[in-house]
């Protein structure tokens, strides 16, 4: 599973993309896995997940080939 990282998440993981071998069936489990790998994430104000370029709730299943992105707190505008 390929995951895109942005902003401070890119710095926390020291990578712009992650290739995750672990099977992670939904957004919630991806989030839990990331928190375990990168404990600094828990200091962020919020973290959202986008699947196929739309915000996705924790319950949303993940399929191979999905475009997954981790969205730390926004600061555009």
């Amino acid at each position: 599973m390929r995951v895109l990282l942005f902003g401070i998440m890119k710095e926390i993981a020291a990578a712009g993309t992650l290739d995750i071998a672990e099977p992670l069936p939904d957004v919630g489990q991806l989030r839990a896995w990331l928190l375990q790998q990168y404990p600094a994430m828990k200091h962020l104000r919020s973290v959202m997940v986008a699947v196929n370029r739309a915000y996705a709730p924790d319950g949303q299943p993940l399929a191979p080939g999905d475009e997954i992105a981790i969205i730390p707190p926004l600061s555009g505008g």
């Binding site: 895109l4 942005f6 902003g7 401070i8 890119k10 710095e11 200091h43 962020l44 104000r45 986008a50 370029r53 739309a54 915000y55 992105a69 969205i71 730390p72 707190p73 926004l74 600061s75 555009g76 505008g77």
Partner: protein
């Protein structure tokens, strides 16, 4: 084309107004955001904007659709920069044309408020003694 969304290295309010303007519209409201030279009294040297570009453009289009459902607006433009920006430079422009100005004011304010909440763009501030991703921590 009734709306225009764009992420680029440089944007201007004039191009946004030129796009939304038409002989059928009576009023155009714009919001232009620029780089401030300080944050809480600390001088800002520059900003860096990172964008999740394809999703940011989709979220901008959602803002346009939501605004058009709520208010009788005619044409809209939402432009945002990426990359490095210096104090005083333009970072975001929203332009809304409508037959009646109240609708244009409300839709423009809605669009910038929503953009800050939903469009995946991140801003890093550079100070003399360090740098920080804005709003990342509580």
């Amino acid at each position: 084309m009734e709306h225009w969304t764009r992420i680029d290295h440089s944007i201007t309010v004039q191009e946004a107004v030129d796009f939304v303007q038409s002989p059928a519209s009576g009023g155009i409201v714009t919001f232009t955001g620029t780089v401030r030279n300080q944050t809480q009294q600390r001088p800002v040297l520059k900003l860096f904007f990172e964008c999740y570009e394809p999703m940011a453009l989709l979220e901008m289009e959602k803002i346009v659709r939501a605004a058009k459902e709520k208010w009788p607006v005619q044409r809209m433009a939402i432009l945002h920069v990426k990359g490095e920006k210096l104090p005083g430079e333009v970072v975001v422009v929203i332009a809304v044309a409508a037959a009646h100005r109240a609708a244009a004011f409300e839709a423009c304010q809605f669009a910038i408020d929503t953009l800050k909440e939903t469009v995946p763009i991140w801003k890093k501030e550079f100070f003399e003694d360090g740098e920080v991703w804005v709003a990342a921590h509580p």
